[in-house]
Symmetry: C2
Subunit: 283 residues, 2 copies
Amino acid sequence: MSMSLDPVILVNGILTDSLPVTDRGLAYGDGLFETVQLQDGRPLLLEAHFERLLQGCRRLGIASEGLVARLRDDLSRLASMQDLAAWGVLKITVTRGAGGRGYLPLPDLVPTRILMLSRAPVHADAPAVNGVRVRLCDLRLALSPRLAGIKHLNRLEQVLARAEWTDPAIREGLLLDQEGWLVEGTMSNLFWVCAGRIFTPQLDRSGVSGIVRNRLLALASEEGLEVEEGRYPLSHLEQADEAWLCNSLIDIWPVTALAERCWPVGPVTRRLQQLLTEDYRAC
Amino acid sequence: MSMSLDPVILVNGILTDSLPVTDRGLAYGDGLFETVQLQDGRPLLLEAHFERLLQGCRRLGIASEGLVARLRDDLSRLASMQDLAAWGVLKITVTRGAGGRGYLPLPDLVPTRILMLSRAPVHADAPAVNGVRVRLCDLRLALSPRLAGIKHLNRLEQVLARAEWTDPAIREGLLLDQEGWLVEGTMSNLFWVCAGRIFTPQLDRSGVSGIVRNRLLALASEEGLEVEEGRYPLSHLEQADEAWLCNSLIDIWPVTALAERCWPVGPVTRRLQQLLTEDYRAC
């Protein structure tokens, strides 16, 4: 991975690299974020990212009237200042705003909008082609139906899970929930194929409902491949014929090893990689 | 001395009201905080706050060598700039630091230290004397043993729970965990007395191990009053003879009403208020 240049940041439409200390995003993680891939300067699946952001605002009670229009203006401003094709990642963060006292979210708070451009991580080992080794994390995700699915700023579980290993050959850690059901990776969603059927964990009690995950559900369905969402134990994945991870930056990474279990890169994985690439071209 | 009502903030020892956008405290809630009461300019139970902060650093793997010494220097600097007796609250926030990419907490990150002075909230209705009405929140706290007890920055559950009511006559909301056991209030810990014995929830799976809570455990013990920590249903509290809330700013508030259940302010509550007041004088 390389990160050569400092990110370019707009806060509420203004070029800056700082934020008021009293922002509730810092105080309580009281906000949401989206990580958008820029492909030749084009933000991929942007409307789906905005939709999830709005859903998150509704769930958290963050004022969202006019928010997307303002984010579009911010993005235009960024594009007028920077050649977006020179950047790989657009991170959008929205917090409930600055000020207020204590946990009570006052209704007159104005949400903070943060857009940050940074370079795409470079993976010299071509994990999308060759697949990746993953591990099982010790940390188990809490069950929290009120926060499940949305991409909020309370990410200590992911930080602690990602801190469990430093071996760069291991590219992701899989997470079970408190009851032992498979949920996702620390930064990705998980799919696998078993006897010709595709499976992925349901995310109603923990996990993040990923934009690429949801796009894959639609693409698979259009292809006549139904995906079964449910609660599955690790053993179900271990019996799979193929498996993959996905998120908005990595697209699809085949999983080729988990502890002693090894997989070839499978045909369904390759087919969905192809469909996603075509989908990106069309969107 | 500033007469402004705006908080006075030191970030890493420098007077400012802003923070780098790339701070992991904002990105992931990757940090901790302490809320310290200033009594006539004296920070109450400061050593216990530092101890909990260090415990939190160890739990999260945040570098803590020399941290408390630097926080003491920051506090001295604040005291040289401001008459602390004019302020009521010192909030100390420590994050893992700025920068890095993704969830992986790089070991060379330098923690961010934030000290903020603000006015104490004024409660015209003297809740410590007259007691408060509380409600039961709908939100149930997730079970998260890895995060339980410490005062980390992932506080969306508290924000959502506090958003459940706006009636200013209700001063606190009580929270059950996902399994239905009593945990705490949104901003306070909870005690009650039943047939001459004192009870409080154990906080090994959710909740914040409050500084005043832990001081009360010690003070009660010195008084020959043992406190039983365990898992209790709401019905156990409803059968209580008296109950109270505590935190570092409110000290002890007697609970006088929960839905239809009403309590007088009880003798154990009053005794512990007295012991805490004396303890503050001595510390």
